[in-house]
Amino acid sequence: MNNVQRLTQAGLILPNAAAALNPADQQLINSLTDDEVSALISVKSKLGDDFAQRNSRTIGIVF
């Protein structure tokens, strides 16, 4: 099972988003180590169905 499948099975990537992943994102997700995938599953961070949307504004908590 690859990382995309693992994260989809864990509910962190919605099935329709997994199907719509572009090759670059697929490659990036599948390049994550087991530890990184486990961390994503541990913190239950959904990648959502729109993570390809690259429009980021700061959440405002700065360093």
Binding site: D25, S31, T33, E36, A39, S45, I59, G60, I61
Partner: protein, 226 residues
């Protein structure tokens, strides 16, 4: 196992691609927060939470620098990281005071803010980094910093936001000053990352740290909105 493609890109690009990949929930929370109909009411609570996090910036870097010093001569990334922290610590010193200044302008006395117990989510966010630094490797902190300094505040947006909610722009000083400084800080970190002889293990730890940071940062902010 890393794919060959990811080992061919620069260190900074490799980390930032991972952050970009999973920041969707954080970005959605940012939109909710900054467009909230009761933002004027929420903003002081948000600042308190921001202070709870930002007060740990310099102490975390000092901790990481100490760990790097212990590793000098034994760990190939220690020297480069130590130079980065020594340069960055003075740049970040006193920024927690900017948040207190903003709160004071809104009528919240410094001593009252400092007396409040910070939220557990903020303690978890910063506390995790102490764990990674002390028990695993200080390179983890670079994943944390990459998230926090990776999207500099948009100065025009936050000036307009202050005007929109009827709060003096001076009470947004923390965000407005970071909006001016963080593009340079982000680029400095990228240059540092690209010059470090990072292994796949370092990359994985920075990734884990960045993912955890995004998750907890989102929680810290979301609690201000509730």
């Amino acid at each position: 196992m890393q794919s060959a493609v990811m080992t061919q890109v620069s260190n900074s690009r490799r980390l930032r691609s991972k952050i970009q990949l999973m920041r969707g929930e954080m970005d959605a929370m940012a939109e909710t927060l900054w467009n909230h109909p009761r933002l004027r009411e929420i903003y002081p609570e948000f600042l308190f939470r921001n202070h709870s996090v930002i007060r740990s910036s310099v102490p975390l870097m000092k901790n990481a620098a100490e760990e790097c010093e212990k590793r000098l001569g034994k760990d190939p990334v220690a020297e480069g990281m130590l130079a980065y922290f020594r340069h960055h610590i003075p740049e970040e010193t006193g920024h927690d005071e900017w948040v207190l200044d903003d709160l004071e302008l809104l009528g919240f006395r410094r001593q009252d803010v400092l007396k409040r117990i910070p939220p557990p989510s903020a303690a978890a966010l910063a506390g995790a980094q102490y764990y990674w630094i002390r028990h695993v490797h200080p390179v983890a902190l670079l994943g944390f910093i990459a998230v926090l300094e990776g999207t500099p505040p948009d100065v025009a947006f936050f000036e307009a936001t202050a005007d929109r909610i009827g709060v003096p722009r001076k009470a947004f000083s923390n965000l407005l000053l970071h909006g001016k400084l963080d593009p340079q800080h982000r680029d400095d970190l990228d240059r540092t990352l690209d010059a470090l002889p990072l292994t796949d293990e370092h990359h994985a730890l920075m990734g884990v740290s960045a993912f955890q940071t995004i998750s907890l940062l989102t929680r810290v902010a979301s609690e201000a909105v509730q």
